[in-house]
């Protein structure tokens, strides 16, 4: 034991010395040296890990039951477990400086772990190598001591820098670091954990052919990635990368738990099996940013892992395994990683979403891999009959598919080269390849759908956030008032547009840009402009048919965006073309509209009767709307717009298609409505009508309000028609504006 402690102290001292030297004299390169130390630490780890881990197989139920010191047994097990967790944290720390959780753990948790390792070094050695380690001087024991020394040095350094810099870490960050640590510990849980405490050969827990326990193992492939995605998606990129790399490295370590160097001398243990490859490839791709190789796992490995989970092949001496056996746990753990790690990497934007080109490259890569594996299988079969990379050599898949597949496999071609027999199953293996490619195409399709769904949900989430933010702005602006009250009571009799801008989603052109307007009660306000000027866009924005890009609209003090319903209650709208439910009668239609505006019955009765008289509608009010002429339908629209006596009455080309009598009726209605102190906002092409009934006009052109002017002022100097034409055709609107006018 002294021998091992010597090595521990040597490693500790050297590491501390090196770090101190660089900290004092070469501070700029400190980061680099820490990374080098971390890499050296990894080398120690790999070496001692791969030299001999067979003692770990003694962590089983039988030995636990037989053990005289059960507490010691469990303690040794936990020590071994946490040493892996601590190793990963401390090794990755220099490479992820900005990850707060990692920073916290490296000084808050790691020193505890490694102090424990140092103090209980004997137990740690025993838990890794058994009592044999004390009978001699095992090389792997030396590596473990070196490892512990370096780990402790690093963790002490991080603790020192924490106290030196007096970093402010919030309580919540400690909390999240604690939660993250639990997750990290869980990720490094050894495969033999369950078989220590429970009898692994209790066949009530058998995993077999989609039975209950098999399904329990299938559900995590959907649940775990969703949970990880939700936790990590809003975190900084470095944090996401760290989490995924940690998870993939822990998976690789657990996979190689019982592997030794000499195992790789056996051809059947070489990591050419697809899912084994994924365990090595994924962390390497993350570390080295190898996109092309990564996309291969994304398209090819994921599919293979899915089928492996559905059709597990962990046959234990001819008996199917139970959920407690380490090999079963390892099987599923490794295949989970191969399945959802690539999906998470793309989902969390570590690598971009692949395009069709990357998919084609992956297929090419798959072809190369397939041919390579075909040849290797045929070659290595001569040395080891259990060789079966990608299951194309054995009848494992064929036996699941049925007799027809097994019959296909009976077609064999043998090639003899230099005394070796290369056996191929041409039809079966070709079909296998084709089917796998087709399934990969289906996978591409499924990915596209999933992306579409996820992007849709993300967009929805952003919109919801925007909406909530708008509501909060409204609440602040209301200053304690009820949400049903106007935001600005000073504007209670006005229609105000402020810097209104509207751009349709797919266009670069502004339909309306920086429109400012103020219309007061008691006015008939005309809105003129050529076709496509933006009149309808402004009107649609006011009445709530479409959203605005920026700016604000206030209707009687209510903001159209955040107090939509209340703003609409102030408005009566007559569109340029009626849009009515023709199966209803006019009375029914107007009543349904009145219901929405909550017009009381007595008021409704008298108002509707007046409107009926005014528009000479007595004979038709109870007939279906489909029997009406154009003019009658337009009158129904006007009646429905006036039934609630709106403060703002907006009409968009209301006189189109009306006979002279009807035009007269509408004009009178407009004048009367304005006389009551209400706003009548009226868009038209007919300048004569505008001239006769409007008090003020605004002229809009190319999305911008050119000017606002009183009709009286205009008529003192010229006719409205000439004035309008001069504005529309002029390059200098300022010169046309009269004195004492409102500048827009």
């Amino acid at each position: 034991m002294v021998f091992y402690y010597v090595w521990f102290f040597i490693a500790l001292a050297l590491s501390l010395l090196l770090i101190t030297l660089f900290y004092i004299f070469f501070n700029k390169n400190l980061g680099a040296i820490l990374k080098v130390i971390a890499l050296v630490l990894s080398v120690f780890f790999i070496f001692r890990y791969c030299l001999n881990n067979l003692f770990l197989e003694s962590f089983n139920y039988e030995n636990f039951i037989k053990s005289e010191n059960k507490l010691g047994f469990v303690f040794a097990f936990i020590l071994h477990w946490l040493s892996v967790t601590g190793f990963l944290i401390i090794t990755m720390r220099p490479f992820f400086n900005s990850v707060i959780v990692l920073n916290v753990l490296s000084y808050a948790i790691c020193p505890i772990i490694f102090f424990c390792n140092a103090i209980f070094l004997k137990q740690l050695l025993y838990s890794n190598f058994g009592s044999g380690v004390f009978l001699g001087t095992l090389l792997q024991g030396v590596f473990l001591c070196l490892e512990v020394g370096v780990e402790l040095a690093l963790s002490l350094f991080y603790l020192f820098t924490f106290f030196k810099k007096k970093n402010r870490i919030l309580k919540t960050q400690y909390f999240y670091a604690g939660i993250a640590f639990l997750g990290m510990v869980l990720a490094t849980m050894p495969n033999y954990t369950l078989q220590i405490f429970f009898d692994p050969y209790n066949y009530a827990f058998k995993v077999d052919k989609l039975n209950f326990w098999h399904r329990i193992y299938i559900y995590p492939i959907f649940i775990v990635p969703i949970i990880l995605y939700l936790i990590l998606r809003n975190k900084p990129k470095q944090t996401r990368l760290f989490a995924l790399l940690y998870y993939s490295l822990s998976g690789l370590i657990l996979y190689t738990l019982t592997h030794q160097f000499k195992d790789f001398l056996s051809v059947s243990n070489l990591p050419f099996h697809l899912c084994n490859t994924a365990l090595y490839v994924t962390p390497l791709c993350l570390m080295l940013r190898a996109k092309k190789v990564f996309y291969f796992t994304y398209f090819i490995n994921v599919l293979g892992a899915f089928f492996a989970i559905m059709m597990p092949n962990f046959n234990m001496n001819g008996i199917n395994g139970t959920v407690l056996i380490s090999d079963v746990l390892l099987f599923f753990r490794s295949h989970y990683q191969a399945f959802y790690m690539p999906i998470l990497v793309v989902g969390l934007s570590i690598f971009e979403r692949p395009r069709l080109r990357e998919f084609k490259y992956s297929l090419v890569g798959f072809f190369i891999y397939y041919v390579f594996v075909l040849i290797l299988n045929a070659w290595f079969y001569n040395y080891d009959t259990s060789v079966d990379y990608f299951f194309i050599n054995s009848n494992f898949i064929a036996s699941k598919l049925g007799l027809w597949a097994e019959n296909l496999r009976n077609v064999i071609i043998e090639v003899k080269i230099k005394g070796l027999t290369f056996k191929f199953y041409p039809i079966y293996q070709t079909l296998f390849f084709i089917v796998y490619v087709i399934l990969s195409l289906i996978t591409w399709f499924i990915y596209s759908i999933c992306f579409k769904v996820v992007l849709g949900l993300l967009e929805l989430e952003n919109k919801q956030r925007e909406y909530k933010s708008d509501m909060q702005v409204l609440i602040i602006a209301l200053k304690g008032k009820n949400i049903g009250e106007p935001m600005n009571e000073n504007l209670s009799d006005k229609l105000v547009l402020k810097n209104l801008t509207k751009r349709y989603a797919s266009s670069n052109v502004y339909a309306v840009k920086d429109a400012n307007l103020e219309v007061c009660g008691g006015e008939v306000f005309g809105f003129l402009g050529p076709n496509g000027a933006g009149k309808s866009t402004i009107i649609k924005s006011i009445v709530g048919i479409q959203t605005i890009s920026s700016g604000s609209i206030s209707v009687c003090g209510y903001d159209v965006k955040t107090q939509e319903v209340m703003a609409k209650r102030q408005i009566g709208f007559v569109p340029d073309h009626y849009a009515l439910y023709e199966k209803l009668t006019a009375r029914e239609y107007v009543n349904f509209i009145a219901d929405l505006y909550e017009v009381e019955k007595s008021v409704r009765d008298s108002r509707l009767n007046n409107l009926i008289k005014q528009f000479e509608f007595e004979h038709a009010i109870d007939n279906p709307i489909k029997t009406y002429s154009h003019g009658m339908k337009q009158k129904v629209t006007i009646m429905s717009a006036l039934i609630h006596e709106p403060k703002v009455w907006i009409l968009d080309e209301p006189l189109t298609g009306l006979d002279p009598n009807s035009i007269y009726q509408v004009k009178e209605c407009m004048k009367n409505h304005a006389k009551k102190g209400n706003i009548v906002f009226f868009s038209s092409h007919i300048i004569d009508v505008v001239e006769k009934i409007c008090d003020k006009i605004a002229i809009i052109q190319k999305g911008q309000i050119q000017l606002v002017e009183s009709v009286k002022n205009i008529e003192e100097k010229t006719t409205l028609e000439k004035f309008y034409m001069s504005v529309i055709t002029s390059n200098n609107v300022e010169a046309i504006k009269f004195e004492n006018e409102k500048v827009v």
Partner: protein, 554 residues
Amino acid sequence: MKKLFKIKNIYVLTAMQLANSFDLSSYKNGKKGLLKAVFSAVKFTVVTLLFYAFFSVLALLKVFGQSLIIPDTFLALIFTVLEVISIILATIKLTGALYKSQDVKFLLTMPVKHNAVFFSKLILFFIYEIIKNVNFTLPLFVAYGLFNGAVWFYYLWLLICFVLISLIPVSIGAVLSVLWLYLSNFISKYKVLQAVIIVTAGLLIAQILFKFVSLIPENINILAQWNNITQNVIAPFLNNFASTFKPFYNLTLMTVGSALLISSNVFNTFTLSCFFISVFAVVLCFFLCNAVVKPLFFKMASKQFEYEKNNAKAKQNVVYNKYFSPFIEELTKNFRSSKYIAYVMLQILLPAMLVFLLNKLYLSMQTSFNGQFMTKAFNMLVLLLSILSFNNEFSAVFSKQGAIRNFNKTRPISASILCFSQIAPRLIISVISAFLGAYLYYFTSKVKITEFVCVFLICSFTSIAHLFWCAELDVMNPQTNIYSSLNAIENNPNENSATLYSLLISIIFAFLLYFLARTSAVTVFYKLLFIAVAFFLVRTLLFFMRVKLYYKEN
């Protein structure tokens, strides 16, 4: 001269309408015309061969006993069904073509007599009937003749009879169209009467179908009892049918004669007398038409274009709560249309009838243990598919309103309530439909009451979820502009997606039911109910969220 002028007018009117209905330009081009003719000949041959194959299969299965001949009663059965359908369709279509078609407005302004317009339309309809019979009825008789070894002049005689067969629906339809016009005009004035007639007709049809399907016996061994079935069921049924529908049976005999092979009994007293009676009947019909229609046609045709100025009674204003008002409006609008009422009947009854038929068929079989699970799965598939298929049109529920959709955005009410009110009627109908379907499943399969409740809830939740999904598609990808301008859309992408989703959902639930039932028959329905509820919650949430955030913008 006058008569010649009249015939020429009829010819011109007919030719004009024919040119409008059919693209005859390809026939003017020699090559294209030849290709079209060849294609038509090939089509005729293929249909004939299909009928021949059909007869061969029936003979092989000895459906009509040991004889290899197809009896004339069987042919009469098919012919009767076809002719009855033709007469009904001719009546309805002629009513539309003669009195309600928009081109009548234009044709009546032409300097021709009104009955010239009338007869030109009848001739056009006769041509449609001939084309339809060439595609279907004629191949049937040709195949019959070939199969039974008819003599060569049978086929010549067939051509002559075929002209008469085509005239019969047209002549009867022309007479009945007058009655139907007055009847339909009368009924259309009284909405309540319309609704009662439709509901009664729907229930009657359902009852008849129910009775027919109930006749399927349980646990039948068709193979063992085949001779019994052919002798004691099929043959008497055909004979009874022939005697019940004697005129049509006689028409069949007139066409095919009363013998086969080398017998020359195609022409005998009976067939010739049938022929002349039929000709007389057709002539009588046309004479009646001319007598009745000549004075009335213009009045009947022009009446359709007058505005209905009913002297409606003055009504009171009715006030509803503002949140309830959109639902009342939607119901009022919808139930004013008789087509809508008929459609509602179909939505409620069809899934139930399909489930009933399916289960009666299953009951007539002996099913294995595995088969019982498959039965449940197929019930789920059929029920869901039939209910969800009616939801697909709601993927254009808002777009179909055209300009009204935008106008509705100006209403001072939450968009969620407005949108929900438009799908609420269908929501209620789908629940009723699910209840009826589940009840018939329970009634026929004699399952536990918990299973009935679970199936009802699963179908209800799934249907509502799918309905919200369809409406959501329209919110996110509205086709309003196309509907506003064209009033219809071909190949609506939303509808395609909705149809695909309905198919996938039905298959997934059926598959899950089968798969999970094999491992745990007790809890399977609870698991499916859980999935259905989760699906419902997700889709409801997404629908209302998307309406709140996107309805105004899109």
